[in-house]
């Protein structure tokens, strides 16, 4: 059952088409990540789902009810902002209790629910404090508790991890996923960080220029990109692309290997690889160069794990190979994925 459905949603600010025709359907209990570079319209999309922004066109359904023109308080949603937006003048208890008080729930019920939410997030000992006395990680938990306490149909998270330092972010990611699975809350998670998206999402919707370019599981998005934008936006370093026979050919750096690494029976395509520079990154080796012939100006990268110890030296030409199944083909003009083409 779809908890949230978005149909042909558009939002234009003057001439800027922030969101330009988005269709999405989020299943119950699912964690959908909306991934895209800044300015792609992902936050605007989320704000429209929350009711903070009025769509120019299209419809939003939450729990089979059309909510397009309802104010936020009439929608069964909760939201966590990037800044956490804790009310600075209220204690943590009052912060978490605020949505319940707005619903005029009885005092006992409020107390019970606040205690339930704060125990899930392990912040019971902070209830008497003020937001400014809390660390970044604690504030994030409070914001989550405040979202949780509403028992919403859908929880909207707008880059909730980006204000945490790198170390904390990893553990917060882990925790967020665990508690989302445990409670089975339908969640929409907006981020520009592909690692967060890959690590958290049941499905990922990749957005660019106001449109969803592809929606699918992390595996689908990574291995079967629908177009050149998705192919180059995900992965670090991004997918190598070059023109050959009137179409674009792409393969991931980790699939571009020196011969002898692969099994002899694998079906491979070989490219003469002119090595320019070799970077040692500890666990990996990045080899920068160009493929001789077809794509002179295109930089191509090979990423070799440290388990491959073949000697690679700058300014030499090696035969590097890609397995046939790892070669992706795209239309030269539209950038859309096409059927595999013969390479000669």
């Amino acid at each position: 059952m779809a908890v949230v459905e978005v149909k042909g949603l558009k939002k234009h600010f003057g001439n800027v088409k922030a969101v330009n025709g988005v269709d999405l359907s989020i299943q119950k209990g699912e964690l959908l990540v909306i991934l895209g570079p800044s300015g792609c319209g992902k936050t605007t999309l989320m704000r429209m789902i929350a009711g903070l922004e009025r769509p120019t066109a299209g419809d939003i359904l939450i729990g089979d009810q059309v909510v397009t023109h309802l104010p936020p308080r009439a929608r069964k949603i909760a939201m966590v902002f990037q800044s956490y937006a804790l009310y600075p003048h209220m204690s943590i208890f009052d912060n978490i209790a605020f949505p319940l008080k707005a619903r005029r729930e009885p005092k006992d019920a409020i107390r019970q629910k606040v205690e339930w939410a704060s125990s899930i997030l392990g912040i019971q000992h902070l209830l008497d404090r003020k937001p400014r006395q809390l660390s970044g990680g604690e504030r994030q938990r409070v914001a989550l508790a405040r979202a949780l306490v509403k028992e919403p149909d859908v929880m909207l998270l707008d880059e909730p991890l980006s204000n945490l330092d790198a170390k904390l972010r990893a553990s917060a990611r882990d925790e967020l996923q665990r508690f989302q699975r445990q409670l089975g809350i339908t969640t929409i998670f907006v981020t520009h960080d592909q690692i967060e998206a890959m690590g958290l999402g049941d499905r990922i919707a990749v957005m660019y220029a106001g449109q969803v370019r592809q929606i699918g599981t992390p595996q689908e998005i990574y291995h079967e990109p629908a177009d050149t934008f998705v192919a180059t936006f995900l992965g670090s370093p991004p997918m190598n692309l070059f023109e050959r026979n009137d179409c674009l050919v792409g393969f991931r750096p980790e699939n571009f290997l020196p011969p002898g690494v692969l099994q002899p029976e694998d079906k491979v395509t070989a490219f003469p690889f002119h090595v320019g520079r070799v970077e040692y990154l500890g666990s990996d080796r990045l080899i920068y160069g160009t493929i001789e012939g077809a794509a002179e100006q295109n930089k191509t990268i090979s990423k070799l794990p440290s388990t491959i110890t073949v000697d690679i030296e700058p300014d030499k030409v090696y035969e590097f190979v890609v397995q046939a199944k790892d070669l992706k083909f795209f239309d030269k003009n539209t950038g859309k994925r096409i059927e595999p083409q013969p390479l000669d």
């Binding site: 929350a50 936020p72 308080r73 939201m79 902002f81 990037q82 937006a85 707005a102 400014r132």
Partner: protein, 322 residues
């Protein structure tokens, strides 16, 4: 080559600096001269008159007899017993407090309206600032005409709608309300002008406070299910409380110590029903020549203004720490 002693001294002299050369790099010197104008201003125009007022209030000095003969608290005792003073003290508090209550409510409404986006916003903002930009005496003279006993436009409007001047009209059968000639109406008129005058400043200060609130907080409150009023009273107001108390304290001081409005509108009348302390001090001390009594009356303002000033400083400090 060996330098002669005379030559060495000459070189030494050339590299030493005169005492005044780096005077403006000296922070102590710079600090002193930058502070001096403010210090001189405060001593000359606040400190000395204040000490003079205290001195005058315990002597029998008048315009005609400037010798300072100590009389103790006799001036205070005499003033307190006069009905004019008691009325003035009551009116001063009444006008100030009633005006500030209205200013607080109206300024909130105005600020919330001005914080919205609408066509012609800048012109609305400019018009609202006008009462504050107008010299207080000119503005009050305008009101004097509005409240005129014969030509008051308010009377005309009430007459036009049949609310005044007919036998069964709500506001009476008389053709004119005679705003400044009746006790309650005169008091209300003075209060109204005070509100009119203080409202712009308070509204603009509140507007600044409202626009400085992180919009995420308001969005969050909306998502949390709060209605407009809940957001206003539980989120916006508490957040702008420090800045709002500054606006209110400013209003208190301005209204409490103002003599122009009552002077231009009513001269304290009818009888002495709109008398306020600053005006009464002026009538006694300057107009009537009894400097000592005028000083004593004026000093009654001091304790309250002191409390307000201390409150202001504390609020300002608290909001700084945050």
């Amino acid at each position: 080559m060996q330098k002669s002693a005379a030559e060495e001294t000459a070189v030494y002299r050339a590299t030493t600096h005169s005492k005044t050369q780096f005077l403006f790099d000296n922070e102590r010197f710079l600090g002193t001269i930058f502070l001096a104008p403010a210090v001189i201003y405060i001593i000359a125009l606040v400190g000395i008159p204040f000490i003079m007022a205290i001195t005058f209030s315990v002597t029998d000095v008048t315009v005609g007899d400037t010798s300072l003969d100590f009389v103790g608290l006799q001036n205070f005792r005499r003033i307190i017993q006069t009905p004019q003073f008691q009325r003035a003290l009551k009116d001063t508090f009444l006008f100030t407090i009633v005006a500030q209550i209205f200013v607080a409510i109206l300024a909130n409404i105005l600020a919330v309206i001005l914080a919205q986006e609408f066509r012609g916003k800048w012109i609305a903002r400019m018009l609202i600032m006008l009462p504050w930009a107008t010299p207080i005496s000119l503005g009050t003279i305008g009101w004097l005409w509005i409240f005129d006993s014969k030509f008051s436009p308010i009377d005309w409007i009430l007459q036009y709608f049949g609310l005044l001047g007919t036998p069964d009209a709500i506001f009476g059968a008389s053709k004119h309300l005679n705003f400044l000639g009746r006790e309650e109406l005169a008091m209300a008129s003075v209060i109204l002008v005070h509100i009119w005058r203080m409202l712009p400043l308070a509204a603009v200060i509140l507007l600044a406070g409202l626009t400085s609130i992180d919009s995420d907080l308001i969005d969050q409150a909306q998502v949390d299910g709060a209605s407009f009023w809940r957001i206003h009273f539980q989120i916006r107001l508490p957040l702008i409380f420090p800045i709002m108390s500054i606006a209110l304290l400013f209003g208190l001081i301005f209204t409490f110590s103002d003599m122009v409005v009552a002077f231009v509108l009513t001269r304290g009348g009818p009888v002495y029903y709109t008398q306020v302390l600053p005006l009464w001090a002026w009538f006694k001390g300057i107009d009537g020549g009894s400097l000592s009594e005028g000083a004593a009356i004026a000093l009654f303002l001091f304790p309250l203004l002191l409390v307000v000033a201390i409150l202001m400083l504390r609020v300002a400090r608290r909001s700084e720490v945050r």
